[in-house]
């Protein structure tokens, strides 16, 4: 399949164009904070509970809160039904997302506590981990968790030899490289970075710059969503 034709991608986007994104804060009643994100064909819900006492006690950290994330896909979120319960992919994503979010939370303010972040993928296209991180960050802010910065995420990839932003599903399946990245937008520090496939040094440099710039755009949308909730606009 030809993924790039006449300088356009298979869904008509240009190389550095994001898919349509919609972010909403505070969408659930019971959770302490929540967010809903639609990103291309992804639909993701994130909820935050805490800080609350970590249970059982022996997992408590006396100097800081534990940030515990759970990435989960609904059975019907993908074309071939996913069986209930965490598979190995979900376990890995939960782990690296926990590590990324831990960095931006003032965990030292809540010793012995846990801050639980639950992310449910209701409809999956390519890029669910970046969508989830983006939603989780908004949900944390909505929950009033003290944070030193946001987390904004986006993937870059290589398709038909070309570095392109925010891979769609066919691009993800058939492309030559995938590089999800998450940053703290105020400082530009990198919180999450993975890469699979094949990139020359030059391509990597181009990709990472493209991705980091996109993260800044995501950051603006995240702020806007929170603003909208609190101003009721």
């Amino acid at each position: 399949m030809e993924l790039i034709k006449d300088g356009k991608r298979i869904d008509g986007r240009s190389f550095d164009e994001l898919r349509p994104i919609k972010i909403e804060a505070g969408v659930l009643k019971r959770a302490d904070g929540s967010a809903y994100v639609e990103w291309g064909g992804n639909k993701v819900l994130a909820a935050v509970y805490g800080p609350r006492e970590a249970q059982p006690r022996h997992i408590q950290n006396p100097t800081k809160a534990i940030v515990s994330c759970r990435y989960n896909m609904a059975a019907f979120s993908v074309s071939d039904r996913k069986r209930q319960g965490p598979d190995r992919r979900s376990v890995e994503i939960s782990k690296i997302v926990s590590e990324a979010l831990d960095r931006v939370i003032f965990t030292e303010q809540f010793p012995r506590a846990t801050i639980d972040v639950y992310m449910e993928v209701l409809q999956a296209d390519a890029g669910t981990r970046c969508t989830c991180l983006t939603a989780a960050s908004v949900a944390l802010a909505d929950a009033g968790i003290p944070m030193r910065d946001f987390v904004s995420a986006c993937a870059v990839g290589k398709v038909d030899g070309q570095i392109v932003l925010d891979l769609g599903k066919e691009e993800d399946n058939l492309g030559e490289a995938d590089l999800p990245i998450a940053i703290m937008p105020r400082t530009g520090e990198i919180l999450l970075l993975q890469m699979d496939g094949h990139l020359t040094m030059e391509e990597f440099n181009k990709a990472v710059t493209l991705g980091m710039n996109a993260c800044m755009k995501i950051y603006e949308m995240q702020k806007e969503a929170l603003m909208k909730k609190y101003t009721g606009d």
């Binding site: 019971r30 639909k43 759970r70 989960n72 059975a75 019907f76 074309s79 965490p86 639950y118 409809q123």
Partner: protein, 253 residues
């Protein structure tokens, strides 16, 4: 302690014929149904019952029939009380609560012949459609039985059998033959409250779910919690379930 105080307050209100959120005893919360919300599913629905929010998705794939029903499709129902939905829900294998909900919804569809599973036979004795019904609870403010059951029925009415994808003919709409609607009531002291909120459910003595079809016949019942009902209470609950169910049915269709 808190639950004792809450219980007293709800009982006192009930003695005056009132509920915490101002509803009448037999008045359900506002119901919103949105279909087709999960495009990778064969059918889906998002149901809101007040602040309770449940998403149901249907996935279908060819598979083997059960040995004792060689000419019928197979229904597999699961419920996931995701930890997003409540501070008391935990990750891990399905809780007894989740299993009970899934099984009550499953029987409600299967035994009341909501779908004619014989029409989901592909090759007798060999290949039939397996219908996976997944209930995903997103926000829990009481009465998951009705939210799940209404969600399941709505998702079924939205379902297109993906025959083309599996190279067994043209896609076709799943035929829903009956519309049994589940209505749940709880007993608190001597009051019977329809569509309990979380607060009401927490302090309730007994729960009864009744599913009534478009002809006014009973299709399923499930009593729950540690309390008891008198026979008269059961009959009265059945009656109000019939009346309220008729209105909900219109929303689903």
């Amino acid at each position: 302690m808190l639950s004792e105080i809450k219980r007293d307050y709800i009982c006192q209100l009930a003695a005056k014929g009132k509920r915490v959120d101002g509803r009448k005893f037999d008045e359900p919360r506002e119901i919103k149904i949105e279909k087709g919300v999960a495009k990778n599913a064969e059918g889906s629905a998002l149901v809101k019952l007040g602040d309770t929010s449940v998403m149901v998705g249907v996935k279908m794939a060819p598979g083997e029939p059960y040995p004792d029903t060689q000419d019928s499709g197979v229904l597999t129902t699961s419920a996931e009380l995701t930890p997003l939905a409540s501070p008391t829900f935990e990750s891990g294998p399905p809780s007894p609560e989740a299993i009970e909900i899934a099984r009550v919804v499953d029987r409600g569809i299967r035994e009341s012949k909501t779908v004619d599973f014989k029409k989901l036979c592909i090759t007798k004795n060999e290949k039939v459609w397996v219908l996976f019904l997944d209930i995903h609870v997103l926000d829990y403010d009481g009465n998951l039985f009705d939210a799940s059951s209404i969600g399941a029925l709505s998702a079924l009415t939205d379902t297109v059998v993906p025959a083309k994808r599996f190279e067994i003919g043209e896609d076709f709409k799943l035929e829903v033959e009956h519309y049994p609607v589940s209505c749940t009531s709880v007993k608190i002291g001597s009051a019977i409250l329809l569509d309990p909120s979380l607060d009401e459910e927490t302090v309730a003595d007994a729960r009864l779910t009744v599913s009534i079809d478009e002809n006014g016949d009973i299709r399923a019942m499930q009593k729950g919690l540690n309390g008891s009902f008198t026979l008269d209470e059961v009959k009265s609950i059945i009656n109000s379930s019939k009346i309220k169910g008729d209105r909900i049915r219109e929303l689903i269709k």
